[in-house]
């Protein structure tokens, strides 16, 4: 946090509970930092205008599009990616996605899960409308969204 602007700096970021220290160019997007510098390739890129949400991660607990955040802006922050959702076992949300055929190609799925997981943290039993609003920033071209919404609602009711 110096007063002299820098083109490169060392960032300290806690990602999925592990703290990383890396030197990055100021211009590097958080999504590229995660994918290329940290080899966490679960977060995806689907557009270049911040429209599709495939890059959604949690930044200090809230879902954001990591393509619209610079890595340097995450200095000192905590980031959760899809890799941080589960350990050995799938979470009820992930299992619900599979049960309800809420993914086909799987490319939008990490972003969808991050948005849905954030919703379920705040609203444990969301309605269909609440789920749609929560996922409005995540584009899917395979499923038409119906099964995804159903999966999140079901996960909310304790996996019903």
């Amino acid at each position: 946090m110096s007063t002299t602007p820098v083109t490169e700096m060392v960032v300290t970021v806690a990602v999925n509970g592990t703290t990383y220290e890396r030197e990055v160019p100021a211009r590097r997007l958080l999504v590229h930092f995660l994918r290329d510098d940290l080899d966490l390739t679960g977060t995806h890129i689907g557009c270049d205008t911040g429209s599709c949400g495939a890059c959604t991660v949690h930044l200090n607990g809230v879902p954001v599009k990591s393509c619209a955040v610079l890595a340097v802006q995450a200095d000192g922050a905590a980031v959760t990616t899809v890799e941080g959702l589960s350990e050995e076992e799938l979470t009820p949300l992930q299992q619900s996605f599979s049960d309800h055929h809420a993914l086909q190609c799987g490319y939008c799925t990490p972003g969808m899960l991050m948005s849905a997981a954030a919703l379920l943290e705040e609203t444990p039993s969301p309605t269909e409308d609440e789920v749609k609003v929560a996922l409005q920033g995540n584009i899917c071209r395979c499923t038409g969204y119906w099964n995804i919404v159903e999966a999140v609602v079901a996960a909310g009711k304790g996996g019903a």
């Binding site: 820098v6 160019p25 879902p63 955040v69 609003v133 920033g137």
Partner: protein, 282 residues
């Protein structure tokens, strides 16, 4: 797309931020980044220095002072939606914020950022003009306050110039006899506006601002005059709005022709006014 090389600083105080903005040519304030980072990805704009305002907590506050709702320029749209001060004082701000893009954008995007971009399709420029908001701008020389009309200057241009930092937006508190409305047409649900209008009535006096038709929000003064003090029913409103489209010179693009925008401008205005009138009735 990928950014050009840029320098980055994260000041710890507003003074430091203002110093950085004035000392470095081509420095831009980085608020939520939802517009700026995407614009820089396209290389449509490439400031040399980014001054990250993330550390300036004082710019995030939302409070009521007397009859004024004071919103820090760095208040995110999410915080505006959650704010009980906004809900009590001027709820239209939260209602409109909830329709901007999506959760991820609202978690980062700020009210200050939204208006500093002055994109003609943005939600808040016409709304703040209708509400009669004012903006506080600080620079190395001190602080000044401008009205919303004075704030929106030209094509993607505001009163925030080189070395300036927008710190606060003040909105008059609502109350009895006050009604707000905003209506329009978007490209898909919660999408980009193709046409919008914001209307506010305070004790029978109207402020109506149109977005999407010009570089800056357009005050529909003739309509305001016709409605002033009048009994507001749909027929009266339609009569007052009739002809508004012909006075406008909106752009034509892939989403709407100029004629379509003229027609939508009238419809959006009628609907915003009807909403405001209903709210004012309580």
């Amino acid at each position: 797309m990928l950014l050009r090389e840029v320098s980055y600083a994260r000041p710890a105080s507003v003074e430091e931020a203002v110093t950085l903005l004035s000392e470095h040519d081509g420095a831009r304030a980085l608020a939520g980044g939802q517009t700026l980072v995407n614009v820089m990805k396209q290389r449509a704009a490439s400031p040399d220095v980014l001054v990250d305002l993330a550390g300036l907590d004082e710019l995030r506050s939302i409070s009521v002072s007397g009859t004024t709702l004071e919103i820090g320029a760095m208040a995110t749209l999410a915080s505006i939606i959650r704010s009980s001060e906004v809900e009590v004082s001027r709820p239209i701000l939260a209602e409109v914020a909830a329709t901007v893009a999506d959760v991820q954008v609202r978690n980062r995007g700020t009210l200050g950022g939204n208006i500093c971009v002055n994109d003609p399709t943005n939600h808040f420029p016409p709304l703040l003009v209708a509400l009669g908001a004012s903006m506080t701008i600080r620079n190395a020389g001190g602080e000044r306050t401008v009205s919303a009309e004075e704030f929106f200057v030209g094509v993607f241009e505001t009163a925030v110039g080189e070395g300036d930092l927008l710190t606060r937006i003040d909105v008059p508190a609502g109350g009895k006899g006050v009604g707000d409305g905003m209506a329009g047409v978007t490209l898909g649900a919660h999408g980009t506006y193709v046409s919008n209008a914001a209307a506010t009535v305070v004790d029978g006096g109207w402020r109506i601002a149109l977005g999407c038709v010009a570089a800056v929000p357009h005050r529909a003064s003739a309509v305001e005059e016709k409605l002033s003090g009048a009994d507001v029913d749909e027929a009266t409103v339609r009569a007052a709005v009739d002809g508004l489209g012909a006075t406008l010179d909106p752009p034509s693009d892939v989403h709407a022709s100029a004629d379509y925008r003229r027609s939508l401008a009238e419809t959006s205005t009628v609907r915003a006014v009807m909403q405001a009138a209903e709210k004012a009735r309580g």
